[in-house]
């Protein structure tokens, strides 16, 4: 015989009695483990989705608008992809999809799919759609669809000189197939559970159509496919390091769109780029490898004017010697003979130079500088060099100036110099110093259009380290010659072609090698990212639905625990004599408790084991809910059931612990009863004022305590405590005195809470804060406390009631509530708190329409939110910009737009279940938000110059402390907290460097309260363009529009910007989408909470059963006294129905106050669902009470009397 044997014996013997406990433990465990399995399932589904969108892809390199050779990808055993944004239409134009990823792929791409699609490659003139896009377009194989794809522009759309027409190309293609997730249909590098729209076309076709022959901007690979030479890279490098090392070994400057070519008109090499402006890292590297390298910046002037003479659209070159004198000042200019003749200029004359600010994009902001003519150079080399002009798209190949297809109108048409263009093409007419040129035309893309390397006799100079003067290109020339009208050092006629000599070829080879050694692919955004690792991390760290559903199921779990505790306590009470015997035999209370707890633990283990099975069903039910009625919270129906062994084990242990803890709480009081009370069949709380000969220590102590209370009560009235003194005829009984004290105390608490609650309400109403959910919830909670305090006082008062004359059966029943006052109060409290929380949680439902037009609201006061597929470079706030887009000025009267630049990244809003690894970046001019005072700040930027706050926090110069390389950023509070897991003041390190290879570190300086900006990180536009110069134009818009014309404005803009794939959404709708997540969560909580209350009402049945069984003798006496059984049932029912009503009423009244803001704000309060919940609880409570009453009063009640 051991303790374990005894526990097992007891378990087996009392199994039937324990069935209820087992059921409760099973239920609680099923809910707890089930909630954790929901977490597993969401996490697992996200992981599945992440793996599905990547297939076998483990690393990828995406370079945006920078095109590298597709051959580079092939050499790395990676799949080359040309990924471009586009829109898609069904053939009849009836259905449309914006933000479509048009992916040019070859057969190597499909080899990365987990499951090979039923085709080897996409045939030309065909398209393969993913399921999401096929559904959106209602397209099936054989149908035609129209794709509009953005062309790849060598020159950013933000450069004034870039051509803006024909930036998209339309492709009419036949649907070849529709691919599912396993066939890489969801391919995307962004972590989001919402499937993207993907259209796969032939790589060759797309390259040809968009003018990117043999180019790609994305490549993806599976590590085992890559070709690496392990021995080269040291011990144990990671696969990612290997692939990036391999990239460094296989790339060439062409992959950074750099072109090193021999000049045909002089013995020199030139480094240039079809992006026009050389990237600063390329310039640095070029100057470092050759001390004789000459940087050149050639730009278009709109006008050169001297007095009344002027000429339009000449090129002007900024350079050092020998093109200009080494000591040429920044306000001096060297002009060629043609221009001197044309403008009748002489040395010393003044020249006005007008030009478009390069960064001004479509705005075409013009500036003018004045120069003094230093000298005039002849139309000979090196000045008469047409190769000095970069290959401006739309300009370089035109035969006449009038044929230019540039991004600006030829407003000075009469001043164009076609003869010059015909003879000299882009030969610059004027030369300024490099520094003067850079001041005028330097921009975020670069400040150099070419670097020239004179071919030297000794190529060894290339290997020398960069000299001290390397950074000062003005002083780099080894030969400084004063240009003069008589000097002609060209050696050949301008423009006359020269063939590349062996010396040049040899020099070129060495230079290329030296350049490659200096350049790093990462400087140009060429770097592989561990996308699979990042995706798995995003899914792993995503929204914890396990915790969320434990929260939602809290009431259910608590109700199950309460049920377990009640039933177990009930069972133990039935075994009071057994407990008493053990105590009498010398067991300590602790030992007995351990024995019973051991028994309970056995039940808990069994319950948890059964619950683990039930958990699967619970989790499946919740997943079904999330995929259907609660879909707003997750945005996908692709959630699949997953169960991790560790979760099951952890949940099992947790469930056992929770159940055992509940049982421990239930047992504490039970085993504290003295043995003799238990042996006497007791366990009943001794509060009777009748003397009992067998009442003992506990009773005596209770008596003494009450004596003390009585003394205290007497003392409070100034009377001496006289325990032996005979009672005054009219003095209250000790019990009544103690009760009166308690009654008074509770009334005081109730009154105080009521006063504070009403004061809070009054303040909220008086100050117009009727939408202040916190104040109303607080007032409601205080009223709940007050209601419970009054209930307690009422019970005390009823206990002291002596109105024998007014006694009725119902009255007697209600009086009986006081018999177990603490139990009655606990029951009422549980029901009140449950109903209060379930009802009042609705106050936190978010209403997107609340104050939507106010700047401080979540919409920022904006009417519309727009997102375009292609960047819009025109200024939608100016007449010129609107005209360029064909917008009628009148239709946009009163409309203003805040445009944002966009760096695509992960959606960091609550709509994305993944943890955003690289949140989407928006760049905005802070002034535009400052002047509107848009949005409310939950946390104001800290450490700003006095007097500044809000959006000025985005501007570096308003910060009092140096930020270093950190970029100040502001985001929505919810995004910061939940999607990024950060707080204001934290730094977000982007996993990818910026376009210059610098790490991106964003300091969160402020947080905006619940807003439509969720999902993004916002930085100042200048910071944005400095880091991501290639991100042209704007793709995110907040639109102010007159409230009565929102729909018209939306229609007008959508129509005009159709080719940009603009989608406008009312700001309130966007807010509603975001709010839907929280509101759905609240709804889920209310539903599960309601179920918990229902279960709790079953607990009331157990309480009834206990109460009645304890009082069978008393009830039998009533029967003996002539009461009918029906009357007894009514007695018991009325007693517990009163408790039920009291609890529910307290909760409902308090919750009614708490939800006032929702009611006043015309928010959608689910009154029907809540009424149904409460009605269900009431009915369920009454049914359980009735069943328990009937069950307890069944049988020979009079036997109980005899047993007494």
């Amino acid at each position: 015989m051991t303790l374990r044997t005894l526990i097992l014996r007891s378990l087996r013997f009392h199994l039937r009695a324990h069935l209820g406990v087992l059921l409760g433990a099973t239920l609680g465990s099923a809910i707890l483990i089930g909630a954790l399995l929901v977490g597993d399932s969401v996490r697992g589904s996200l992981r599945d989705m992440a793996l599905a969108r990547l297939g076998k892809v483990e690393a990828a390199m995406a370079t945006g608008d920078r095109l590298f050779r597709a051959e580079l990808a092939t050499n790395l055993k990676a799949a080359p992809v040309l990924a471009l944004p586009g829109t898609a239409n069904s053939a009849d134009g009836a259905r449309r999809a914006n933000r479509v990823n048009v992916l040019g792929v070859d057969d190597s791409f499909w080899k990365l799919a987990e499951k090979a699609p039923p085709f080897a490659t996409v045939p030309p003139n065909s398209v393969v759609l993913n399921q999401a896009l096929a559904d959106q377009l209602a397209a099936k194989p054989g149908d035609e669809v129209l794709l509009r794809v953005s062309k790849v522009s060598a020159l950013s759309q933000d450069v004034a000189l870039t051509t803006r027409d024909g930036q998209t190309v339309a492709l009419r293609l036949r649907v070849h197939a529709v691919v599912g997730a396993e066939e890489l249909g969801r391919f995307s590098l962004q972590a989001n559970q919402v499937a993207p729209f993907n259209a796969f076309v032939s790589l060759g076709l797309l390259q040809n159509k968009v003018g990117a022959t043999d180019r790609a901007n994305l490549t993806a690979l599976h590590y085992s496919d890559m070709e690496v030479h392990l021995q080269l890279w040291g011990p144990n490098p990671s696969s990612l390091e290997l692939i990036n090392s391999s990239l460094r070994g296989k790339w060439n400057p062409n992959d950074a769109q750099l072109d090193l070519r021999a000049l045909t008109n002089s013995p020199a090499l030139e480094l240039r780029t079809d992006r026009i402006f050389l990237d600063p890292p390329a310039v640095r590297a070029a100057l470092a490898v050759d001390t004789n390298a000459q940087p050149i910046l050639t730009y278009l002037a709109t006008l050169l004017r001297a007095g009344t003479n002027a000429t339009a659209y000449p090129m002007v070159t900024a350079a050092g010697a020998p093109l200009v004198p080494a000591d040429l000042r920044d306000d001096e200019v060297v002009i060629n003979q043609w221009l001197a003749d044309q403008l009748q200029l002489k040395p010393g004359g003044e020249l006005e130079l007008s030009y478009f600010l390069p960064d001004s994009g479509a705005r075409l902001t013009e500036a003018t500088n004045r120069f003094r003519v230093r000298s005039i150079v002849p139309m000979q080399m090196p000045w008469a060099d047409r190769t000095l002009m970069p290959d401006f798209p739309g300009i370089a190949s035109a035969e006449r100036i009038g044929d230019w297809d540039a991004g600006f109108p030829l407003t000075h048409r009469k001043l164009v110099d076609d003869p010059y263009w015909k003879q000299w093409r882009g030969t610059p007419k004027a030369f300024v110093s490099l520094s003067a040129g850079r001041k005028m035309w330097g921009n975020r893309f670069g400040d150099t259009t070419a670097i020239r390397f004179p071919v030297a006799a000794d190529v060894r100079r290339l290997t020398s380290p960069a000299g001290a003067n390397a950074s000062d290109p003005e002083r780099r020339s080894p030969t400084r010659r004063e240009p003069s009208g008589t000097t002609n050092n060209a050696g050949s006629e301008s423009g006359a072609p020269q063939s590349e000599t062996p010396r040049v070829t040899s020099y070129r080879n060495e230079l290329e090698k030296a350049l490659l050694a200096q350049l790093k692919p990462a400087d140009f955004g060429l770097v592989f990212q561990p996308v699979r690792e990042q995706a798995l991390k995003a899914s792993r760290e995503g929204q914890d639905f396990g915790g969320l559903f434990i929260g939602f199921s809290f009431f259910l779990i608590v109700a199950a625990c309460v049920l377990v505790a009640l039933l177990f306590q009930f069972g133990v009470e039935q075994r009071a004599k057994e407990v008493g015997t053990l105590l009498a035999l010398g067991f300590t209370p602790k030992q007995v408790r351990r024995l019973l707890l051991g028994e309970g633990a056995g039940l808990a283990v069994l319950g948890a084991a059964l619950g683990a099975v039930g958990a699967v069903w619970y989790a499946r039910a919740m997943l079904h809910g999330l995929s259907t009625v609660w879909r707003d919270a997750v945005g996908t129906s692709d959630l699949r059931f997953h169960a991790e062994p560790a979760t099951l084990a952890g949940g099992f242990v947790g469930a056992v612990l929770v159940a055992v803890f509940s049982l421990w709480l239930a047992l504490r009081k039970q085993v504290k009863q003295p043995a003799r009370v238990l042996l006497a069949g007791g366990g009943e709380e001794v509060i009777s004022n009748q003397f009992s000969a067998i009442s003992g220590e506990g009773d005596a102590r209770l008596g003494l305590r009450r004596q003390a209370e009585r003394d205290a009560a007497l003392a409070s009235r100034g009377a001496e405590p006289t325990p032996t003194a005979p009672p005054e005829p009219k003095a209250p009984s000790p019990l009544r005195s103690a009760g009166a004290v308690q009654d008074g105390r509770m009334n005081l608490v109730g009154a105080a809470c009521s006063v504070v609650a009403f004061a809070l309400l009054g303040w909220a109403v008086a100050t117009g804060q009727t939408a202040n959910a916190g104040a109303f919830f607080g007032a409601g909670a205080l009223l709940l406390i007050a209601a419970l305090a009054f209930t307690s006082a009422l019970l005390t008062r009823l206990e002291r009631s002596e109105s024998a004359a007014a006694l009725t059966v119902s009255g007697l029943g209600i009086r009986n509530i006081t018999r177990r006052r603490s139990r009655s109060l606990a029951t009422a409290t549980m029901l009140a708190c449950g109903s209060f929380l379930v009802l009042s949680i609705g106050v936190f439902r978010l209403d997107e329409n609340a104050n939507a037009t106010q700047r401080s609201s979540g919409t920022g006061g904006f009417a519309l939110l727009g997102e375009s597929t292609l960047p819009v470079v025109q200024d939608l706030n100016t007449k010129a910009g609107r005209e360029a887009l064909g917008l009628d000025a009148k239709s946009l009267d009163g409309v203003s737009v805040v445009p944002f630049r966009v760096r695509d990244g992960d959606d960091a809003s609550c709509l994305n279940l993944n943890r955003a690894q690289k949140p989407r970046l928006l760049g905005v001019k802070p002034d535009m938000l400052v002047e509107r005072q848009a949005f409310q700040f939950a946390t104001q930027p800290d450490g700003l110059v006095k007097g500044f706050n809000g959006w000025t926090g985005l501007e570096r110069h308003f910060h009092t402390l140096p930020l270093g390389d950190e970029i100040p950023a502001i985001a929505d509070q919810n995004s910061i907290l939940w999607a990024m897991g950060k707080k204001v003041g934290d730094i977000i390190e982007y996993p990818e460097p910026d376009e210059r290879g610098r790490p991106v570190r964003l300091r969160l300086v402020g947080a905006v309260a619940n807003s439509i900006l969720q999902g993004n990180l916002i930085i100042a536009e200048d910071e944005f363009t400095a880091r991501f110069p290639s991100e042209a134009g704007y793709r995110y818009f907040l639109v102010d529009a007159p409230t009565n014309r929102v729909a018209d404005v939306s229609a007008t803009l959508t129509r005009a910007l159709r080719d940009f794939g603009l989608e406008l959404t009312p700001a309130t709708r966007r807010m509603a989408q975001l709010n839907a997540v929280q509101n759905t969560y609240l709804g889920t909580f209310q539903i599960l909470g309601g179920l918990g209350l229902l279960l709790g009402s079953a607990g009331l049945g157990v309480v009834v059963l206990r109460n009645v069984l304890e009082r069978r003798g008393e009830l039998a006496l009533l029967l003996a006294l002539g009461f009918r059984a029906k009357a007894l049932r009514w007695l018991v029912l009325s007693e517990h129905a009163a408790l039920l009503l009291l609890g529910l009423l307290s909760g409902v009244v308090a919750a009614g106050v708490a939800v006032l803001p929702s009611v006043l704000g015309a928010g959608e309060l689910p009154i029907g669902a809540l009424a149904l919940t409460l009605g269900g609880v009431l009915v369920s409570g009454l049914v359980w009470t009735w069943l328990a009453t009937v069950s307890a009063l069944r049988g020979q009640l009079l036997d109980a009397l005899r047993n007494q």
Partner: protein, 234 residues
Amino acid sequence: MSAPAPLLRLANVTKRYPGAAGGDLPVLRGLTLEVAHGETVAIVGPSGCGKSTLLNLIGTLDLPDSGELILDGQRLDTLDELALAATRNRQIGFIFQTHHLLPQCTVLENVLVPTLASGDTASRAQALDRAKQLLTRVGLSERMNYRPGQLSGGERQRCAVVRALINQPKLLLADEPTGALDRATADSLASLLLDLNREQSTALIVVTHAPELAKRMGRVLELRDGQLVSCDGK
């Protein structure tokens, strides 16, 4: 030569309970009692006179308001709960009016239950032998693996007696041990108690309403007005 120290000594023991009118109702008023080793004592008295209260005090199930309670030279009224439980387990055996056997355990297991409280695993093997011996002694050798529900009333009470003796207590307390038994069975149980008292040298205090049982004890005391009064002049 001084008289041997009594096994049990109660000196000026008082016990009160709160009364209905607010005052205290004294149950035991300066009660004094001495019981020698191996002595048998019957305590009689009308219902509600405090017999069970007295037995509860002796059995350490309750504590006196004042006075001394000494068992085998050790004051019990000053011990903490743990020590009292140990005393109950090792030095005192209880027999109740109803047997209070654990229905889930066999007869043998029920007898062994008190040995579980001590945590002394070494003595459990000896206890098993002793339990079998005692059960054989009281005629339950054939019933060792029966459940209480399969026994007659007399058998259950005999089983309870063996359980009370399993830890070789010095004092056996019996509260109306024959109260639920028929006359023949009651006589048989009384004989058994007295036989075991002799065999085990265990002092026996019996609270009873039954004069037949009381008469068979060495001393009969009546509890009257909170004091013990000898009924037989012993």
